[in-house]
Symmetry: C2
Subunit: 300 residues, 2 copies
């Protein structure tokens, strides 16, 4: 393994620990249970899942590390010059499903990738981001979320936030519903501009920034009262999360198709979900207000 | 429209009526509500959904009829000689989600397709089938299901049942779980051997045979007692149904990608679902017995 890959992996393992600690602390009751697993062919992971917490109905934080002798077709299709290269991939990926419908669902991922071929300089890149999926959105929360995202991007260039915010809106888009998955955040991939140190520092800023963006929102909303109506709307909207992850999400589909560990990949799915034919919220209701948040908007 | 397409369409509309009547009768309480809709570009449909019945938590029976000026890429990829052809497609498609976990979920579909190009003989084919997804399988039910399937195939050739049974096992397969969606049934596509009359008669036999295959199983199981344990297992297994439909099912994905009516396509999704990380049924339990049924097996 290269020194770069080692540093990225060490950071990602530590990030998983820090995020799990932060989630357990705000939950108060729930504790993560870890499955450490080994991947045939090289690598492995630590899948951590917290269920039935006070705040989180389910929280999954996955670290995985893959070594492969030959890049899979899905990767070489985008980068044909890497056909036959060996590779290292490491990532932390999480999805948090809160119980209270006033607390948004969230997802974050940071990842490092490196390909090696004889007679070729190693090729590496980072990717990552985080995005927020509220059921009953509050402007204050969404502004805070995007402000944290913007602030962590600023040291890396004045256009970084707006580019990665746009990429996030485009990536988390359900074409068949003509709506975004939520209110967005950051998304980037193939990042290797400006050298390893800069890209690594940016990815660290995204990974470490996640809890700063999310926890204040949880703190504000976790004790808000709700009833069956809000719960049913949350279960219904979680159905869109399932639709996105299984129909569009490249990470999920690539993982399932390439023989990844199914349980770790699908731990992103919500614990309980409801689908309803032709549901429409009542005009003017709290539920009807969500639609306006599922179109890209400037928040900073 | 050709006379053939007109006959197929008339049959399919009538089939939707007959199946809905049969489902309402055995349910006793639930009634279908119809949405008639028009497709931009030509055609339309009648989506019928029954919710909160005594037997069926949700039942969807969809008729749709599409006229198009130019075959979509997904169809011409398989049949490049039809590039630029106009087409007519008509189908009945249904998914029934029972409330009682002892009653299996089921799906059926029959369809007719016709492509026309100047200076070319019209090209047509039929497709269809039905399949069964039990939660607590009973051999008696599965044997009955496959016996009806076999009997309706026999007049059309001694190898028809075994070929279409195998095709069904292969089609309804979740690679990432290494299991079939259920205990199979019949699946066929591109059928135009032996002339229109023979293929139409076979498709009529499949469509009309569905209730004969399914209703006796419902009758036997609908009053069986069950509790929270069986309900929770049913909700969990419905998650696999969602996984199949959104990750693999060509009809669903083609429909969503080609701008079909989303609500009609996704009415196949179960009303309530549960996902659980790394769930394993207790060894020797009733729930553990299902796995043995999710490998292809001879039933006749």
């Amino acid at each position: 393994m290269s020194e770069q890959a080692e540093r990225a992996e060490t950071f990602l393992r530590g990030l998983q620990d820090r995020i799990c600690a932060g989630v357990e602390q705000i939950d108060g009751r729930g504790r993560f249970v870890e499955d450490a697993w080994v991947r045939e062919g090289g690598g492995g992971g630590r899948t951590r899942v917290l269920t039935d917490g006070d705040v989180f109905e389910q929280a999954g934080v996955n670290f995985s590390y893959t070594q492969g002798k030959s890049l899979p077709p899905a990767a070489t299709a985008r980068k044909p010059e890497l056909t036959g290269a060996s590779y290292v991939a490491a990532s932390v990926s999480l999805v948090l499903h809160p119980r209270n419908p006033h607390v948004p669902t969230t997802h974050a991922n940071v990842r490092y990738f490196e390909a090696n071929k004889p007679d070729m300089e190693p090729v590496w890149w980072f990717g990552g981001g985080f995005d927020l999926t509220p059921f009953y959105p509050h402007d204050e929360d969404v502004r805070h979320w995007h402000t944290v995202a913007n602030d962590l991007c600023t040291p890396f260039g004045s256009d970084v936030y707006s580019r990665y915010k746009k990429w996030c809106d485009e990536y988390f888009y359900l074409k068949h519903r003509d709506e975004t998955r939520g209110v967005g955040g950051l998304f980037y991939d193939d990042l290797n501009e400006g050298g390893f140190e800069r890209c690594f520092a940016f990815t660290q800023a995204v990974g470490e920034g996640f809890l700063n963006a999310y926890l204040p929102i949880v703190e504000r909303r976790k004790a808000m009262p709700y009833g069956e109506r809000e719960r049913e709307f949350q279960l219904y909207r979680r159905g869109r999360y399932v639709e996105f992850n299984l129909v569009y999400d490249r990470g999920t589909l690539f993982g399932l198709q390439s023989g990844g560990r199914t349980e770790s990949i699908l731990m992103s799915l919500p614990p309980r979900v409801r689908f309803e034919y032709a549901y429409e919220p009542e005009a003017g209701s709290a539920e009807a207000q969500l639609a306006a948040y599922l179109k890209p908007r400037d928040w900073v």
